[in-house]
Every structure is written in structure tokens, then in C-alpha cells.
Amino acid sequence: MRRMRWLRGTAASVVLAAAALGGLGSGEAAAQGKQLTLCWAAWDPANALVELGKDFTKQSGIEMKYEFVPWTSYADRFLNELNSHGKLCDLIIGDSQWIGGAAENKWYVKLNDFFAKEKISMDDFVPATVVGYSQWPKNSTNYWALPAMADAVGWTYRKDWFSRPDIQSAFKAKYGRDLAPPKTYDELKQIAEFFQGREIDGKKVYGAYIFTERGSEGITMGVTNVLYNYGFGYDNPKKPYQMQGVVNSADAAKGLEFYKELYKCCTAPGMTNAYMQEGLDAFKSGQVAMQMNWFAFFPGLYKDPNVGGDKIGFFVNPAGPNGHFTQLGGQGISVVTTSEHRDDALAYIKWFAQPAVQQKWWQLGGYSALKAVVDAPDFPRSAAFAPQFLESMGIVKDFWAEPSYAQLLLDMQKRVHDYVVADKGTAQQALDLLVKDWTKVFKEQGKQVASQ
């Protein structure tokens, strides 16, 4: 009986406590008022966005909540959320390749009417970012996102090593030219070979860091920087989805061979499954002379006490024998269809599109795509990497942005990793198999795929 009383007493206390907590919760919620959840990747620019968002809260009274997920699970996590019509995100900064699926599946709110009403013109943004982040179908006038974070692949190098007289003279003696940031991939390979295994300040260093990650998108985002410049394309511009001879042309195969050679000759041991973070670690620890990575990380690297400041330099992705391009990164910001706070979310986009906000975004470490910011006369002097960023945004190419992009990406990850890292088959075979994989995907999607 005493036990029963005790149980009843405890149950009553629990109920009361729960009621009290519930009351407190709802009171807090009432005090907080409106709230928006913004979903993005967990990386340096996300911290800048949190800082920037404080101004929005100050002006609108709307609290900002953030859901940041590491890059390796970013696509899995948020595509799952969008697929299941979840209500976690009001706003999402989704990857450029998602735009086709997001538009076709109606995950994102179409922004044309909103842009027209608020007089937000896409002509005010860098063209490559509008095509890459906002439009679906590409080159149409259907807008699903506002360009939020412009990005591309660029390179960092150890400026302090490059400028040392002993290293300079050794390089000149060996190659008969001055040691300078490479303009072509052949020059890059030469420099990487020169540094590979060299001892600098008593430490063995390596030539270059390139993307090799297998699981998500890493090796594809790396290898395309070489492939584009050797002549690789996704399809025939005149015959959409005709990939034979474009994806697997002899020039494209040479590009793939080159990437493998670079990986074999000039990277640090163990870099068999490495992406952004491993590159940053390798560069920050003084292990490599040159690093391939996204511009988004360059503000942080420039501030690094060990390798930043005067010690770091930046260069644009080098040209190849058949062109000069670089891989587009970056994202647009969209309103999620299932959001219950659509008006507030649109208010955020309206606020974010303002030139003053975009200027601050760039100053805080984000990359604005607004022409008013990047075309300003003082922009190239505003950061050490600004001129290279500007040049890169003029030569970007992006991966497929089809609704089936995930399948296309994973097929490329497999075929390229099999050849480059696992030494399976030849470059030509890898690309031939890729054409076969992609043809199958497009056929399943109901596309007409011409073989020639």
C-alpha cells in the first residue's frame, strides 16, 4: 500500500513537472516569437552566415536556427529530408546539382513571382551562378534559388617555399625556368615532382594535394578539373544526352591518365580517400607545396597562423591542352515547399539579396555572387584570393544537375576511383564504362540517348 502511495505520488510529481516544463517551453516559445531553420553544410562559411544572420534577427525579430551537417553526410541527410517532405528546414542552401531534382520534385518554391514582386533581378548576379544554382531547366527563366555562396575549385601554394632562393635556383637548374605558380597542368606536375620528397626545414614534403575521396563526390570534383581542360564534356551541346565520344573521347582519356599520373607521382602517402578536410590538414601541417581545394576555405587558410598570411599564395586551376575551366562549387538558397513559415523564409531571401548584406557576407568570409560586390573596382584588392576567385568564376563548369544526378555522380565516383586509385583497367575503359552507366541511368529516366 505504501509502495502504491509512493508510486502515485511519484507519478503525480512527474505529471506536474512535465506540465510545468511544458508551460515553461510554451512560454519561451511565445517570448521567442517567430523562428526560421536554415539548413546547410557545416564548414567555415556557415559560421560566417550565423554571424550575418544576427543582423536579420535584429531587423525582423525572427530568430534564426541552423542545422549544419558535415559535407560527407550533407547530401544524404538533406536529400532524405526533402524526399520525405520533412519540415526540418524552412530555408536550405542546397548543392548546385540538386536543382534539377528539387525543381522537378517540387521540393523548392519557385521564386519567379517573388523575384518580380521584390524587384530582385537575376541579371544582378554572376551569370555562372545563376545558371549553376538557380535555373532549372538550365538556361531557362525558371528560378528556384537565389545564388547564395559562389564557389569553385582553386589552388593554394606555399608562397614562402616558392620564393626561397635555394629552391628557386634548384628549380631553375632542373627545368630551365623560374619557379612560379603554374599556368598549365604540365607546369603543375613539374612543380609537384620537384617538391615531392624534398626536405624543407628538416621535414619531408610532398608535391600536391588532390581530391581522391570515394564515398561522396570527392574524386569526381577533383578529376573534372583536369578532364574539362583536356576535352571532356558531359554531352554533345547540339544533341543533349549524346555522350559517346564526348565523355569518353581520346582527349578525355588522356586527361584521366594525367590525373592518375599526378596522383601516383606527387601526392603524400595514404591519400587514397581524401577530400576537403584532408587537404586542409595536409596544407596546414606543412606537408604539401600545392593544394587543390574549394575557394570557400581560402579565407580560413589565409588567417592560419602557421601557413597563412605571407606564406600562402593562390592560383586558378591550371589550363590543359584543350581548354581552361574549373569545377563549379557553391550553392543557392531556396525556400522549402513544406515550410510552414514561407513568408518569413522569403523575407530572409529578400534581406539576403540586398547589396549591403551581400557586401558584409563577403567581408565575413562568405562568397557573394552579386555583381555589385564582385565587380566593384576595389574587389580584387579586398582579399588575397579575390582576383583568382573572380577569374575562376568566369571559367566554371558544373557536373550534371539532372534529377538523377546522385546516380550519375556515384557511377563516376566508382569508375574514376577504380582506375585512379585501384589501378583497375585503362582510362579509356573507365570512361567507356561510365558512358554505359550514364546511358542506363538516362534511359531509366525516360530520356532519349543518341549513341552517335
Partner: protein, 321 residues
């Protein structure tokens, strides 16, 4: 409890009319069977909701073309196309081969090492409890922790594993990569899995060893049987059912292995260590090929279920001997 059992004249005999009718009402209200159902109903409902319904739904989906990344496309009934696609796909067979090799080698090493450890731990010695705890530590860790921890250990430049190998072989530590070389990566996942799960096999074997009555060994000693003879004629035969159980548990678990391998190698280099569970995850949650991945999941389920059933029958035969 008697008040809610079936009507029984003896129990209600002698009661007044109101009491009798009340008892009858309660009896009519809830029979034993009804109470039994009442108690198990929540569990059944839960099982139906989280096990049976998804299974039935998955079977349904396996006959469709559903791709969640293109859910705007009309859902088509494709019959057995997904199944024939999978069974005719060379890559899937390679992944099954990789998985089979991983299961065979890892379970073999785990049984040998686990049984050896059990034989050692079965003896009473100083620090016995301490060493048992140390040996059991790996299996208490989460596979995610093990994956990350071994990734660091195996890092060619800073990881102690390569330095250790270098110490014995003279090969420079950065000259090889355990997770990045095609020839080494499959053995690396076997090594890490064995490190983690051999203690589990040891525990099962230890239970087997402890279940052998001492008098059998005493009788063998009276017959002057050597230690070796005792091992072959008593210890091994009497622990075989336990060993078989350990093999069953570990084989099923390793067939489903995902997390640790995904963290260590992501299935690489290339597709060298891509187990079928990784293929399934990629098809279902990265490529979003829901129909196809449902079919693959069913094929794997049937394969594991069938193999396990055959094995359990064999195990029962051994037990009966």
C-alpha cells in the same frame, strides 16, 4: 484471478443472486484468452507496424520502378525486372564475392583466435580478471569508434601500425597504405573485424569450456590420456556446438557489415572492399533507387535466411550426437 476465469458453478455456488450476476458479467467481459490477447496486442501491433508492414511494403516496392529522387515520374509495375537486373549484374556478383571472402576469412580468424583465447582464459592465473576485461574491451566499442580509431592507427605517415610493421620488416612506414592498396585493403578490414569480434567468440567458447564437467577430465586422467588426447577427444567435440553457434552469429553479422568498413575504406580503393551492404546503402539512400534496392534487400534476406536455416539444422544434428 478466479473472478475473471470461465464460469464455474462451484465458485459461484452459494453466492447471492447479485454477486452471481456480477461475477458472470466479469467473466463474460474478459476471458483468459481475451486477457492474453490484451497483453500481447501492443507487442503484436508494434511488430506489425515496425517489422511486418515495412517488409510487406518493401516486397511491394521491389516490383516497381520507384526512384525517390524522381518521385515525379509515374510509378510503374516492372514485375521481376529489378530481380533479373540484380542477378544479371556482374558488379553485384563481385560485391557478393567480396562479402563472402570477408565473411569466410574474418570468421575463420575470429574462431581460431577466440577459441585460443578462451583456452587461455579458462585457466586460473594471476590477473585473470584483469586480462579478461582487457580482451573484451574491443567488442564493447562502437563500430564507428573502431572505424575512426583504426583509420588513425593505419595512417601511413603518423599511424603507429605502419611504424610497427616497419620496425619488423624494414619497409618504410609511408611505403604502403593498409586501407589504400588493393592488395592490403581486404585484409585490413578482416584484421580490424577480427580485432573487434574475436573476444565475442572467446566468450561463447568460454561458456562451452566451462560447461564441460570436470569428472570427464578426471576419468580421462585415470585412463592416462595425454593433454593433447583430452583436447581432441573431450574439449573440442564438446565445444563444437558453441563454436558453430559463434560461427552462425558472426557470419550473419559480417554478412550485414556496413559501418566499420564504410568508415575505414568507404568500399575503396575503387570497389575493392565494397561489401554488398555498402552497395545496398548506396542504391537505397544515395542513388535513391528504391525499387531496385528493395529487390536487392529481399535477395540478401532470402540468402542469409536460407543459409542460416541450413546451418541451424546442421547445428542441431551436431548437438544431438
Amino acid at each position: 484471478m478466479t473472478t475473471i476465469s470461465q464460469p464455474d458453478d462451484a465458485t459461484v455456488a452459494g453466492m447471492g443472486e447479485p454477486a452471481r450476476s456480477q461475477a458472470t458479467r466479469r467473466v463474460r467481459g474478459l476471458s483468459d484468452r481475451a486477457i492474453a490477447w490484451l497483453f500481447i496486442a501492443p507487442t503484436i501491433a508494434l511488430l506489425l507496424a515496425i517489422n511486418i508492414f515495412p517488409l510487406v511494403w518493401m516486397i511491394r516496392l521491389s516490383f516497381t520502378s520507384l526512384n525517390l529522387s524522381m518521385s515525379y515520374l509515374p510509378l510503374r509495375f516492372v514485375g521481376l525486372d529489378n530481380f533479373t537486373d540484380i542477378l544479371g549484374d556482374e558488379d553485384v556478383w563481385f560485391r557478393l564475392q567480396t562479402t563472402a571472402q570477408f565473411v569466410i576469412w574474418s570468421v575463420t580468424f575470429q574462431v581460431i583466435i577466440g577459441f585460443g583465447l578462451a583456452l587461455l582464459i579458462n585457466r586460473q592465473f594471476r590477473g585473470h580478471s584483469f586480462w579478461t576485461t582487457i580482451i573484451l574491451l574491443p567488442m564493447m566499442l562502437s563500430p564507428a569508434v573502431v572505424g575512426n580509431f583504426w583509420t588513425l592507427l593505419l595512417q601511413p605517415q603518423i599511424g603507429p601500425f605502419n611504424s610497427l610493421i616497419s620496425l619488423f620488416t624494414g619497409v618504410p612506414p609511408s611505403a604502403f597504405s593498409m586501407t589504400g592498396q588493393v592488395s592490403l585493403a581486404p585484409w585490413t578490414i578482416v584484421l580490424v573485424d577480427t580485432w573487434m569480434w574475436a573476444p565475442y567468440v572467446m566468450l561463447i567458447c568460454l561458456a562451452g569450456l566451462r560447461s564441460i564437467p570436470d569428472y570427464i577430465y578426471e576419468a580421462a586422467e585415470v585412463d592416462r590420456a595425454s593433454t593433447w588426447r583430452q583436447f581432441w577427444s573431450i574439449t573440442l567435440p564438446m565445444t563444437v556446438p558453441f563454436l558453430m553457434l559463434a560461427v552462425l552469429f558472426r557470419a550473419i553479422e559480417n554478412f550485414k557489415m556496413f559501418d566499420m568498413v564504410n568508415l575505414l575504406t568507404s568500399g575503396g580503393p575503387g570497389s575493392t572492399t565494397e561489401l554488398v551492404s555498402i552497395t545496398l546503402k548506396r542504391a537505397a539512400f544515395e542513388k535513391w533507387r528504391t525499387g531496385y534496392s528493395s529487390a536487392l534487400a529481399i535477395i540478401l534476406f532470402v540468402a542469409v535466411f536460407g543459409a542460416a536455416n541450413i546451418y541451424v539444422k546442421a547445428l542441431n544434428k551436431v548437438k544431438q550426437r
